[in-house]
Symmetry: D2
Subunit: 156 residues, 4 copies
């Protein structure tokens, strides 16, 4: 079949360019401001042993079915847990993470809330719950982290 009968389905290019431009300008490869976080527009806040990652889902982050890609959802949840661990204790590395996708997301703002399941000296267990623009739970993740050497002198 001919491509002429099949027009391209394109994303909101202006929105993608704005976030990409900001990522170029503002990124700094440390917690809170690394490129990928800036590109997806992640804003992190901390309170009560939780880390919230909030962002607006744009269609350049969507899957071919027209909803927020599971990879972006997993990235936000991973960030909410890794940043919390770094905030409370130390940098860590994800040994494993399981994500359940319980509801497709098309509208924001999206909020991923990372919290502790159990904290240990060498191994930490964390969870993250991600909510869509209507406040409905859209994804649930649990993960296991290996804690890396204690916080460096200039822990950023």
């Amino acid at each position: 079949m001919s491509d002429m009968t099949e027009p391209r389905k394109t994303v909101d290019v202006a929105a993608a360019q704005q976030l990409f431009g900001r990522a170029i300008d503002e990124h700094d490869q440390k917690f809170g401001s690394f490129f990928l976080a800036k590109l997806f527009g992640f804003a992190m806040t901390y309170a009560d042993e939780r880390c919230e990652v909030t962002f607006e889902p744009h269609d350049f982050m969507f899957n071919p079915q027209g909803s927020l890609h599971g990879g972006v959802i997993a990235t936000a949840m991973d960030v909410s847990m890794g940043h919390l661990l770094n905030h409370l204790q130390s940098r860590g590395t994800t040994l494993e993470m399981k994500t359940q996708y319980v509801r497709a997301i098309t509208k924001g703002p999206v909020k991923a809330v990372g919290s502790l399941i159990r904290r240990g000296n060498s191994i930490c267990f964390l969870e993250s719950r991600l909510y869509d623009g209507e406040g409905e739970l859209a994804a649930f993740a649990t993960s296991t982290w290996k804690v890396l050497s204690s916080k460096p002198p200039t822990p950023r």
Copy 2:
């Protein structure tokens, strides 16, 4: 502390811009060519009931610790499984996915190989193995998919 004593750690902006530009120009929101896949430079190939997703890791996809972000790894593996399912049977939606991160990645090319664990009419189980530039296994994922209505007339 002053920012002057703390120079920014920036990514290879030219590489990021090249991939972003290509994503803007070439993306089409369907399997194989959606924006996010283009942005990360994913190339999909199919053979023997497998789908391979190959890409070059650039530092704009890295975490603050200087290796490929788990979210990008999860995205590539998710794509390798979802595209395989679409190729063999039908579009599907990820019910859940668990990823084990067994080795940090700094060099490519990275290759995620999606394959079937067990295929069903309504539920499919898939796995993906992701290898780094040295051919070492770097991540292993398993997932459960709900098969969506049979392939549409113009399955792309």
Copy 3:
């Protein structure tokens, strides 16, 4: 080396025999009373969209390291979720279940609390939290279930 220098480490046989005898006498292969549940001494209660499975850990359920075997823990948590699903909606089959073991258990009573993550018509997502005798979280599980045909006429 000689076995004579290495005396057998045996379990509390009387406790095992008592539970086994009760399982023989009282089991009925339906929800709430099937043999395996009786053998492990599981008692199920329901309240507020939760199912609690309570039992006393005996050393015949232990691993070679001297704590409650992960398989018994997984069984109790699986039961807490499957029984809840059956209680609220219908019989179901576990598509997958992930368990994190965050604390070794030697003393009871142990309590597994199953609850809903998200309920759907064909797919349900559940979680279970298992506490040891001190009330500390010892294991955390999430699972994905395929709902089977609606409740049979005599749903027990």
Copy 4:
């Protein structure tokens, strides 16, 4: 409704008693012969960096739906991985394990094959594939282990 119209569905008591009796007589709380393994009739063999756990499924191990209980399946797979780790390296503790149930089991012999995903000094990643009596894959598990202190003097 009356229980008189609803006769009990009982298990093969003789089979249960035979295995229970053997567990009482032969168990020894170490790798290979602990009570739970004896009770389920697990036989472990090692070859080529694999551990196979073989057993016959009896209906006292079944769920209310009439197939092998997921908890017993998880136990066999957990054992196949933990025993392999102990055989190759050292005792370990399961940090987490995810099991996908891809096919109901009613006939044996059942075989769980544990193998390595990646071996490390402090963390090991393992998988297990469980096959039913027809040689079909019935369950697939992956797990993450924390390696405990090196093998004790009398490592069995």
